[in-house]
């Protein structure tokens, strides 16, 4: 007899399996893959932050890399030349400054909608790009190489070593889980429900008494702060930052991750980041023109699976059961 599981139970089983896989992954061997999955998890945090805007507030930002880059540059600029920076000081600083930048930009951009929103977020991101690219602040197009990884010393104790790839892996893994839980809680709160209402019908939300502008600004700020967190982790992992982190390619890539995985689903954002990097790795091992293949894949996906990879399970079931 077939055992029937309710959907939440099934989701939970898959979730536990994925978490277990991720938890044991570094012990399977190859450092290359440990570092690759670390990178993917950082991008998943980045994609999750954008999903709050695109998938849940209905704001399609084409400049989200700006806040990712700002978070990364905060670590680059706060790391002294001859000693290590402290994680517990620089990480909150990165989140706060990226959030502050998003708030300042948000004041202007969340007033406009649709294509105009896309263009002004891009314009502001380009301004930040050139700020780091062309001024002494960002030290030019070569960016900043950090001589030291930050230390996690707190109260005289160093619980983990950020120079160790496995430790970085688990630190990023923990942050990813926390960000996921934070967003899930946020989206179930009255605030999160209001954001989803705005995405569905902004006009009606306003006439029901919601100060839509403030909600959007708050969403934009939180998304920026979380992107800053992801950017910080990226700088931490690779030990250098350059203006490319803020480029519009980067903003486009993270949007593609959402399209791949399925916007408006937290799982989708995470899955999209994994899928994006996996496709990039596979295709670039086949040909140097891998972006052509990636583009074709994305077009095919949009046509045949508009809900993204996260919608596969439900779709598969419908096809089978009818």
């Amino acid at each position: 007899m077939m055992q029937t599981w309710s959907r939440p139970v099934k989701t939970r089983i898959v979730l536990v399996a994925v978490l277990a896989l991720l938890a044991f992954f570094p012990f399977a061997g190859a450092t290359f893959y440990t570092e690759l999955v670390t990178k993917v998890m950082i991008l998943a945090i980045f994609a999750l932050s954008l999903d709050l805007l695109v998938g849940y507030t209905g704001l399609v930002s084409f400049g989200h890399a700006a806040y990712y880059g700002i978070g990364a540059y905060v670590l680059g600029l706060l790391t002294p030349k001859y000693e290590a920076a402290n994680l517990w000081l620089t990480l909150p600083a990165a989140i706060a400054l990226a959030g502050l930048a998003a708030f300042a930009v948000g004041i202007f951009v969340v007033r406009v909608k649709g294509i105009y929103f896309i263009m002004v977020t891009l314009a502001f991101a380009q301004m930040f790009y050139f700020l780091f690219h062309d001024t002494r602040l960002g030290r030019g197009s070569d960016g900043i190489s950090m001589n030291f990884k930050p230390v996690a010393t707190i109260g005289g104790v160093t619980p983990f070593d950020l120079g160790n790839a496995t430790h970085v892996y688990f630190f990023v893994f923990a942050v990813l889980v926390l960000v996921f839980l934070f967003l899930r809680t946020l989206l179930r709160s009255p605030f999160g429900r209001a954001l989803q209402g705005i995405r569905s019908n902004e006009h009606r939300m306003r006439s029901l008494g919601f100060p839509v502008y403030r909600y959007k600004l708050a969403s934009f700020t939180i998304a920026g702060a979380l992107a800053g967190l992801a950017g910080y982790l990226s700088a931490l992992q690779f030990g250098f930052v350059n203006p490319e982190l803020l480029s519009w390619h980067q903003s486009g890539n993270v949007l593609l991750m959402l399209i791949l995985g399925g916007q408006g689903s937290l799982y989708g954002a995470a899955v999209g980041a994994f899928a994006f990097v996996a496709l990039e790795e596979v295709y670039s091992s086949i040909t140097t023109h891998w972006q052509l293949l990636l583009g074709a894949t994305i077009i095919a996906l949009v046509i045949f699976l508009p809900g993204g990879l996260a919608s596969v399970a439900g779709r598969f079931k419908r096809e089978l059961i009818g």
């Binding site: 209402g197 569905s200 009606r204 306003r206 006439s207 029901l208 008494g209 919601f210 708050a218």
Partner: protein, 249 residues
């Protein structure tokens, strides 16, 4: 006599060269249903948009409970107690009927910015939402996704959402349009019941319904008030007969 709860003076709205609403003075009192009649293009919906804040007035003033609200944005007007429904159904199609109303009721809690609690856990909000569903005859439809409701039910939901925000003034833009006879009868009863402790402005084409529920009627033509009075006065008015009713009543 005290000032009406919502009152306009010399209210105008211009669209280019067109005076959509021209020098309108209208007052709403609690316990009274004020119907606005007029042919298409008379400016009825524009009037509601001006009162709800969706459109800024070109000139004139709007006072609510003695305070000038002419420049107040629509969300503020909703929060101080002016609720409106839309002629074209304006709901959250992907949400359940209950969630449509729950979200509406949520706008009344000052803790809207709470980010760590479960939105569905606030009993007063749940009760307000459920109450609104029951009042509009949607008690058994709470779990249905709004887009799967029948057209008539969506019209009922449209009203339920306004009720869930616990307004003191309701501006209803053709709430009966597209409803079946049975639904109209229920809605007319509901309108009468709501009128007891609310001020209502009703824009409606269903003449029978309007004359059954209205305490006052204002007839608009070309953006201007042609006549305003009790249903009997409107029936008797030669100007109204000639311009609008065409002798039908």
């Amino acid at each position: 006599m005290t000032e009406p709860i919502l009152v306009t003076q010399g209210l105008c709205r211009r669209f280019g060269g067109l005076m959509a609403v021209n020098d309108v003075a209208i007052g709403l009192d609690t316990g009274m249903l004020h119907a606005v009649l007029g042919p298409n293009g008379a400016g009825k919906t524009t009037l509601i948009n001006l009162l709800s804040g969706e459109l800024p007035a070109s000139s004139g003033s709007i006072r609510y409970k003695g305070e000038d609200i002419t420049r107040l944005p629509p969300d503020r007007r909703s929060r101080i107690g002016i609720g409106r429904s839309f002629q074209k159904t304006n709901i959250f199609p992907a949400f359940t009927a209950f969630e449509n109303c729950r979200l509406a009721a949520q706008s009344r809690i000052p803790r809207a910015l709470h980010v760590v609690s479960d939105a569905t856990a606030f009993p007063p909000v749940r009760e307000a939402a459920q109450h609104a569903l029951v009042a509009t005859g949607l008690a058994t439809r709470g779990d249905r996704v709004a887009s799967t409701l029948s057209h008539g039910e969506q019209r009922q939901l449209e009203i339920a959402m306004v009720l869930a925000t616990a307004p003191e003034v309701l501006l209803l833009d053709e709430p009966l349009a597209g409803m079946g006879a049975e639904e109209v009868a229920r809605m007319v009863e509901l309108l009468k019941k709501i009128t007891r402790d609310h001020a209502l402005l009703l824009v409606e084409h269903d003449m029978d319904a309007v004359f059954a529920v209205a305490d006052r009627i204002t007839v608009m033509v070309n953006g201007q008030v042609l006549e305003s009075g009790t249903p009997d006065e409107i029936r008797a008015s030669p100007a109204v007969r000639q311009a609008y009713l065409g002798g039908a009543i």
